[in-house]
């Protein structure tokens, strides 16, 4: 059997990487760049603290698409004003409970799925969302999207020659409960190749879109699975130079959430930035 090894570009409109074809860069070269930045970050600052960043460095050349897409000026520090202290509100008018189950085939908002079960390892992903004060983020929208078990997304720019699954769109939504807990049933996504450099592969992940108790707590991030051998090689994950901060993106296998004879369980808790407490106006 002949397997195509042609690397795809990240997206159809991918801009050229300065000075070279992205596919000419090797993993070894990318890994060396990752190691050099990590070594700089590990050096103690004058006050004795490592300078490792707990948020991703938005200027992170090993992730080639970031080169022309990061601001060069420091952000301006401002106190949030009224409209920034109140998160957008979502409710049961917005989200159907079945949207939290990605394994049931036909899905709200899509027409590509028929009623049948997707191929792959069934998993439950649950966790609690709190803000910077430890307050639960209750009744709030959580959106996820992911590749299927073969590492293929349902997307017009997807070029990875892995099979589409007619029973899996990889898109889900839910509302958190009063404790800030969310819960999705899905299948474990596969790793997939991408066009950052030659033989580049993303660790398996689920994209999460999160809203907090204030507009300023908005977060889009990615949840990873424990023990992935691709962590060290991935310039998106490694753009966070602090190991503990990177660990915060990795779910924990949780046998108590594994359903007997049915599915594996993972737990992933989320802490959003900033305080909602003193910014939030009194509830009506």
């Amino acid at each position: 059997m002949t397997v195509s090894t042609t690397p795809r570009t990240d997206a159809a409109e991918e801009t050229a990487v300065p000075s070279s074809d992205a596919t000419a860069t090797t993993q070894e070269e990318i890994s060396a760049e990752i190691a050099e930045i990590a070594a700089q970050a590990a050096q103690a600052t004058p006050d004795g603290q490592p300078s490792g960043a707990r948020q991703p460095r938005i200027d992170y050349p090993p992730y080639r698409s970031s080169i022309l897409r990061h601001p060069t000026k420091d952000p301006r520090h401002v106190d949030p004003e009224t409209i920034e202290r109140v998160a957008p509100c979502f409710g049961h008018r917005d989200v159907h409970p079945l949207e939290a189950d990605l394994t049931i085939g036909a899905h709200a908002g899509t027409n590509s799925a028929v009623s049948g079960e997707p191929i792959g390892e069934r998993i439950t992903v649950t966790g609690r969302i709190v803000d910077g004060d430890g307050r639960p983020v209750a009744g709030q929208l959580v959106e996820i999207w992911q590749a299927n078990a073969a590492g293929r997304y349902v997307h017009k720019n997807e070029q990875h020659p892995a099979p589409l699954d007619p029973n899996f769109t990889g898109v889900g939504r839910c509302l958190t409960d009063a404790n800030g807990d969310y819960r999705f049933r899905t299948i474990k996504p596969g790793p997939y190749p991408w066009g950052n450099h030659r033989n580049a592969w993303r660790p398996a992940h689920i994209h999460f879109s999160l809203f907090g108790n204030a507009f300023t707590q908005r977060l889009v991030t990615q949840m990873y699975f424990p023990g992935d051998p691709l962590f060290a090689l991935d310039p998106i994950y490694q753009a966070i130079t602090d190991q503990k901060a990177r660990d915060a993106l990795v779910a924990t296998y949780d046998h108590d959430r594994t359903v007997p004879d049915f599915s594996m369980g993972y737990r992933w808790d989320i802490v959003l930035t900033g305080s909602g407490r003193i910014w939030t106006e009194p509830e009506k």
Partner: protein, 181 residues
């Protein structure tokens, strides 16, 4: 430990944009305006895979706390919208001009920017052109004129235009909201 951000990547198109996302009000409404612009990279090339979200007060300055943004009924103003950029890098909302949320304050749209290649979200604000309260706004008055200009929309035939430049000449001023001590 705060959960770090990660890029939205190239494949959010199936998940995050939805019908009605950019229409905070129906286009036919008498006071409806178009708020639109192009998102550019450091080479001045439009970014066709960015996602813009706005949060705003209504015309009277009230901050909406209404659900229904994902299934709009055409009557409820939720004050939140989402627009992906098109092949030419353009986002576009149909909405109303926000009013001042406090007496004498300068109204603005609160904005968050996501894109493939952008490793974490960016916050900014869109102020209204020639609004009398702009002169006393704490953020605007702290900036020099070129930076200030990056946060103020320009009026056009259908409403407001506001381009976002992630890098380089005319780079948009982005914001960081610190936790209060």
């Amino acid at each position: 430990m705060t959960t770090p951000g990660q890029t939205i990547g190239p494949f959010f198109g199936q998940a995050l944009p939805y019908p009605g996302g950019p229409e905070l009000v129906p286009a036919g409404r008498a006071d409806a305006i178009r708020l639109h612009g192009v998102v550019y990279d450091g080479d001045g090339a439009p970014i066709p895979d960015a996602l813009i979200e706005i949060r705003q007060a209504d015309a009277s300055g009230q901050v909406p706390r209404e659900e229904g943004s994902l299934h709009r009924d055409g009557w409820t103003f939720t004050g939140w919208g989402r627009s992906e950029t098109d092949r030419t890098g353009r986002y576009s909302f149909t909405t109303v001009l926000p009013g001042p949320t406090e007496e004498g304050s300068a109204p603005f749209f609160a904005v968050v920017v996501f894109a493939r290649g952008l490793l974490d979200r960016l916050f900014t604000r869109i102020y209204l052109p020639d609004h009398p309260a702009n002169a006393s706004d704490a953020l605007l008055s702290s900036l020099d004129e070129p930076d200030r200009a990056t946060l103020v929309a320009s009026a056009d035939a259908t409403g407001l235009r506001f381009d976002i430049r992630l890098q380089g000449e005319g780079e948009t001023v982005f914001l960081q909201h610190d936790r209060p001590a």
